[in-house]
């Protein structure tokens, strides 16, 4: 019980800060950060905990988004059901491609995921154009019924829902970090031979991690779909494939709150700098180079030890 409290304080604090974003900054900004953070945590987990870098996260994002979109456009009107279906589509695709992908070394893994994103793009743009309406995309904002208590059509309710969902996601990843499975992931990243000779199956552990990470990614896709009431193949455009990796590096690889900090910084800079300079991506690029050269720790990776020290000192002085 004591343990639970100890770890959940950090989590509560983080989400309290995130809630301040909602209070002090515009709502669309807050919503975008939340979804982007959820989008990135899967990528962060794969890279930081399992040692897989993926340049194809939009593929899973798109599967989630289209899963939700198909349901809301053709079959039903309840956005919660839509999100559930999007998430399940994510589980399905990850279960399906996982066994082939997780056998690969990290560099090939990055590329094969990129290839999948390209395939998805053409699938949704051309091959399935009859049902996806190609580049025009699917519009279903008006199809969604308003649900009691939390109405996802209302941006402010949407924030509450996404906020709670994100809290759940972070609690889950925090829990995974402390589980035996979390140790297995780190072990498969650093020394797969040894793990094998302790009797674990690297394949199973990686596959499972892959499914967990990409289900989260698909969940972000579903949230995008419901939030905008619109999905087009643009969501899996290969030119955006590196986004989650960038945010991961920006925030700090393998840190729990890196994705939130990274999403905040990325979205913030995009909105801020693009007001002054057209090529805001150039600025992000330069920042990334700087972060890499400064020790690859990312923003949160740099801040965390400092904050810890501050809090630790305070505790010592009160004792």
């Amino acid at each position: 019980m004591v343990n639970i409290f100890r770890w959940s304080w950090g989590l509560l604090l983080a989400f309290f800060c995130l809630f301040l974003v909602r209070v002090f900054l515009p709502l669309p900004f807050a919503n975008e950060i939340l979804i982007f953070a959820i989008y990135t945590i899967g990528c962060n987990f794969l890279l930081g905990r399992v040692g897989f870098i993926s340049f194809g996260q939009p593929a899973y994002l798109a599967v989630g988004a289209y899963g939700t979109a198909f349901y809301l456009f053709y079959f039903g009107s309840n956005p919660f059901v839509g999100i559930l279906i999007g998430v399940l589509s994510g589980v399905a695709i990850a279960l399906l491609v996982g066994p082939f992908f997780v056998r690969l070394r990290s560099d090939y893994f990055a590329l094969v995921n990129l290839a999948l994103a390209v395939i998805m793009f053409y699938l949704f743009e051309k091959i399935l154009a009859k049902i996806t309406h190609g580049d025009n995309g699917l519009w279903f904002l008006t199809n969604m019924t308003s649900t009691p208590i939390i109405d996802l059509g209302n941006p402010s309710d949407f924030f509450i829902f996404t906020f709670l969902l994100a809290f759940g996601v972070w609690a889950l990843y925090k829990y995974l970090d402390d589980s035996i499975f979390g140790a297995c992931c780190l072990a498969t990243k650093t020394n797969e031979d040894k793990l094998k000779f302790l009797g674990y199956s690297n394949f199973n552990i990686r596959w499972l991690a892959f499914v967990i990470a990409n289900t989260t990614t698909a969940m972000a896709g579903s949230l995008y779909a419901v939030y905008f009431g619109f999905v087009s193949p643009e969501i899996t455009a290969p030119s955006r494939a590196a986004d989650p990796v960038i945010v991961t590096l920006l925030g700090g690889v393998g840190t729990l709150y890196g994705p939130i900090v990274g999403a905040f910084a990325y979205t913030g800079m995009k909105d801020l700098i693009s007001g002054y300079i057209a090529n805001w991506e150039l600025f992000i690029g330069l920042l990334l180079v700087f972060i890499m050269l400064a020790g690859e720790k990312g923003i949160w990776g740099t801040l965390e030890p400092i904050l810890k020290k501050l809090i630790f000192k305070k505790k010592n002085s009160t004792n």
């Binding site: 343990n3 589980s179 297995c184 780190l186 020394n191 000779f197 302790l198």
Partner: protein
Amino acid sequence: MNTHASPEIIRTDNVTKKFGEMVAVDHVNYSLCENEIAGIIGSNGAGKTTFFNLITGYYTPEEGTVIYEGKDITALPAQKRVALGMMRTFQLTSTFDSLTVTDNLVLSFIRAHKKHSLFNLFVTPRSRHRNNDKIKECLETFDLQQVAQRDVKHLSLGEKRRLEIAMSILAEPKVLLLDEPLAGLSETEIKGVLDVLRLNVSKQTILIVEHKISKVEDFLERLTVMHEGKIIADGKCEECLNAPEVRKSYWQID
């Protein structure tokens, strides 16, 4: 070869492994009995590690079979061999650098003592196992309490080696295969490790590869000498070391 009354636990029939043209292990017939404490020596490149790798499933042999408790395991993946009770260490110390010493032990302990299931991977947090008596005892035996909470990447080579042996012993395997477990250890550390191994002797079959025979001579019941991929002597330590073949190729004296 069955000098003991106890049954055979591992047997290899004509196992062969080539690297390109080079035959690293050449038609080796070997058998190990339950509760035997055996050693393999040989000069650099004799094929000892490769032979280990064939037994434990790191490589599959190009020719020949590996039998474990009467079952053919030649094609069985390494992790399944572990489940049958085979545990090995590596010549170059192999541990999980980004985990703490205790968590390294926890991983080994869980796999061996809890039923290996999804449930156990997820439901119990690591911290629950950190205070396990067996793990604490193990930390003590190997003199690792001081560094228990430290990440393995900050340990010295000697500490890492002790940790790796601790991990393998903690799993309480039926057969323990140690590849040069004493290399890089100080005299006192060597004594410590051998003492722990002695404690386990009654429960386990142990196969040790060692470069310098002097360190383990008293400990072994049986010795095998390898040279250029072949077994050139096998039997009591004394006899082996004095065999003319061995004198020529291992000691390099005529």
